[in-house]
């Protein structure tokens, strides 16, 4: 009983927290790339804001549908590491 509860809590945390930081990471790379490709800053960020909620929603639902929790955990970790690596590489607020 207690281990199944622990699993549920882990899943919720992974979905809400992990999903959030993974979407943030993707958004960061997305906005930076768009600006690098020549889109204006405000357009890139606004487009990012409109799309990131859809991504976050998909990630949320995916975690709850996935049978193996480690798969989504690994994916999120990969995305977050990419995002942080990217931002430390190119720097903030160019």
């Amino acid at each position: 009983m207690s281990s199944s509860w622990l699993k549920v809590v882990a899943r919720i945390l992974l979905a809400v927290g992990g999903g959030y930081f993974a979407s943030s990471a993707v958004m960061e790379i997305f906005c930076f790339l768009l600006v690098a490709l020549g889109m204006s800053r405000s357009d890139a960020v606004t487009l990012g804001i409109m799309l990131v909620f859809v991504l976050y929603l998909c990630l949320l639902l995916w975690v709850f549908a996935e049978t193996a929790l480690w798969r989504s955990a690994a994916m999120f970790l990969l995305l977050i590491v990419c995002g942080y690596g990217f931002s430390s590489f190119v720097g903030h607020g160019s």
Binding site: S24, E28, R41, S42, A44, F53, F64, H92
Partner: protein, 517 residues
Amino acid sequence: MKQDFRRSMGWLHTWAGVVLGSILFAIFWMGTLSVFDCEIDLWMKPATRVAPAHTLLPLERFRSSLDEAIAAKASFWNVTFPSDRDAVFHTRYGTRKKMISRDIDPVTGRMLPDSGTLGATEFIFPFHYTLNIELMSLGEWIVGLASMAMLALCITGVIIHRKIFVDFFTFRPHANPRRMLLDLHNISGVLGLPFHIILTFSGLVILGATYFPAGVNAVYPNTRAYFFESNGLSFLSVKHGKPGAPVVSLDEAAMRARSLWGGDDPHLVLVANPGMTTSRIAFFRGSERQVVVDRDVIAFDGSTGQLISRASRLTPIMRAQRFLSGLHLIEFRQWVLRWLYFLLGLGSCVLIATGFLFWLESRRKRQGTQIGFRLVEGIAAGSITGIILATLAFFIANRLLPAGARFCGLERASLEVSAFYLVWLAACVHGWLRPRQVWIVQCAAIGLLASVAVVLNWITTGDHPLRTFFVRYLWPVGGMDALLLTGAALSFLAALYLSRRAGHREVAIRSARGEAI
């Protein structure tokens, strides 16, 4: 996580709904009321019930208020122009310590007496997206989480549905209560699905830069820079300057702004850093005639009157974003659509409430005595009928408290808000202590309080429903009274229906016991 996809989605739907349902109900209830925020303001601030003026007052009539702001070293001063829904001018200025707002008569230009209330625009509307929790903008984040849950609930609700088309036409009011609740949940959910999704999504997008600062941080030095750039407010990022510079004629600047807009009227004029050498006069265009919120801000130098900047034309992406926020904020002038928003908003409230009740009804027999069930039972009543009662208490306190009332160091406006919270708390406790009768009693109480609010409005202002019906500018007051009376009638009917059903159930239980003996 369950054996198959549909079952995991069902699990998510159930638990996200039960855990965040009460917050969602509060958000949707306050949002639905905010559709008529100006009208509720008119009801709560009787001093502003004045006939609209035929001609607009010149801005120089507000010069004394501006001088007052300069003397108080305000960081900004602004005037909101009257609109179709709000007949009076509002002046506002903010110093480091506080914000001072006043209502101005549109004909004489004189200050109207202070109503001592936050009204709908300053309590109900902010509650809709902050839950009135200002600590570290925790409220906004809770609303964001609940909104994401709402989107997830909409999607999972569709997934777990087997017969979505049939449910359009299925309502069995005479079936058992559980069946009826589910039908009601399905109808309000399926018919209102586009509304639920679009309003939730656009609400998230409006506060998007708060919820996902990652994108802004990637390309901007700070969030302010993005906000200024995307709203054409870059003229605001100036040094504080030196004092002692007078502000040029506001009317001349207004005339130039009007001609640049091709004759459109401003909705708001702002003076930033009033009295400083770096002061700015900015005009914000009203967006009553279109869904897209396009303020098209025009800024002048406050001490020389020179044109400084005009917002650049909206790019397609910005226009898409402004269309979404326009859909949510309903600043456009269209009465039929406004009523439709109100009705659909009530539909969302029904959706959330019936979801809650269905959860309770389907578990009552098996888990009726468990602590978790009892907890949800108490919270459900407190958060559905409880918040409605609390809102009515807010209205009644507004009519009962004398002008300038003070109690325990709280001013009149805070006392009204306290009445709201006290009644809400009492309703939750009541739901916890008396789960059997809570719905009957609270429905009857809603009916009673709503009728009392109408009578109090009549006694304290003399604007009874018959009078308001015949005076055009009092229609919003009459409309609110009419809605309160309709709500009262419906709640009395609901209370009657529920008490009859409870009576039947008791008879059935008694006869079953009799047979067993």
